[in-house]
Symmetry: C2
Subunit: 204 residues, 2 copies
């Protein structure tokens, strides 16, 4: 595409680097910013700059945080003996939204993916083992819940974690897999349906 201005072209190229945003959408966003007052663009860029410069990660669970320790790890109402292992911050947010979980988290910061060149050493796995073997006073871990994506990479990571943790005095569980609420048996894939049968639970 030919752009009427080099400034537009540069801005479009930068915006189009964001995931899920192509050149056409990027152009629409950039033209929108030009139509709006200059303040709007300043507020946007200031928020992003501030974010990137000041963002911190919790020293315990590696979740995004405003302080050295995140709100969840700091809360006296959370059960420090149960640790839910997730891939990313967005998974923490999804679980928090359910309001069903009272334990704490451990954010791996990614998932083992040989294709993308992400190995175990790129993730916060050693720190997880340390939380079990060398707990802070009052934070002894009794259960680790694996809440990883049901994908090849997720399963690989879960198996790796299991191998690392299985000889430690800690219970390892995984979130339940099965037919989602509102899901129609007819349209469920075979693996999900198969697992939901082999992993059946007592009716209550």
């Amino acid at each position: 595409m030919e752009y009427p201005s080099k400034l537009i072209e540069d801005a479009v190229n930068e915006v189009a680097k964001l995931p899920g945003i192509g050149k056409k959408t990027a152009l629409r966003l950039v033209l929108h910013l030009i139509k709006e007052s200059e303040d709007k663009t300043q507020m946007l860029t200031a928020a992003l700059t501030r974010l990137r410069a000041n963002i911190r990660f919790c020293k315990t669970c590696h979740n995004i945080s405003d302080a050295e320790e995140c709100v969840i790890c700091k809360s006296p109402r959370r059960d420090k003996s149960v640790v839910c292992v997730v891939e990313e911050t967005k998974d923490v947010m999804a679980i928090e939204n359910t309001e069903q979980y009272t334990g704490v988290y451990h954010v791996l910061g990614g998932i083992i993916s040989p294709v993308q060149g992400i190995g175990p050493s790129d993730l916060h796995i050693d720190e997880l083992v340390e939380r079990v073997t060398k707990p802070a006073p009052g934070s002894e871990v009794k259960e680790i819940i694996l809440a990883l994506s049901p994908t090849l990479e997720g399963d690989t990571t879960a198996f790796y974690l299991h191998r690392k943790l299985k000889d430690l005095p800690v219970k390892i569980t995984s979130i339940a897999r099965g037919i989602p609420m509102g899901g129609d048996l007819e349209y469920a894939d075979e693996i999900t349906l198969g697992r939901s049968i082999t992993g059946r639970v007592l009716f209550s």
Copy 2:
């Protein structure tokens, strides 16, 4: 939604102000920026800041431009006697992409929309009239092509322009409306199909 950090919340709120981007998409983009190196965010914000601070509009056609006069108006190969009137820069880009048009443009900067409070005085309509009545030497306008959206607002704007221009020594034309290439007659709406019949052209 609960955010793990005020910085994230601020950034998400700013990004979600962009058109077509909701809170969920904004969060995904913001978390992506955090995962990437700080340079990436800097390059993005720098491009947007530079764009907004330095963007200019062509003094003749009001299209976005890097200089006082845009590349199209400056080009000796463009026919200055034919002016295509469009709503926005993106329409210029769409027509330029066809490589079928050799005239110049006039960007109104919007469309008459009483609902959004946009009246004729908010658009570059007087400047269009001036291009016809007081042309720069060698830029006498012989034909004005109205290329506005086929919507209520577009038609209103076209009628307003026609009233302003009809007594001037200039031919006023409109882009052809009809069945698009690859369009199936069966699925065309009645107005389009009706217009394509009343506005039929000689087979060539």
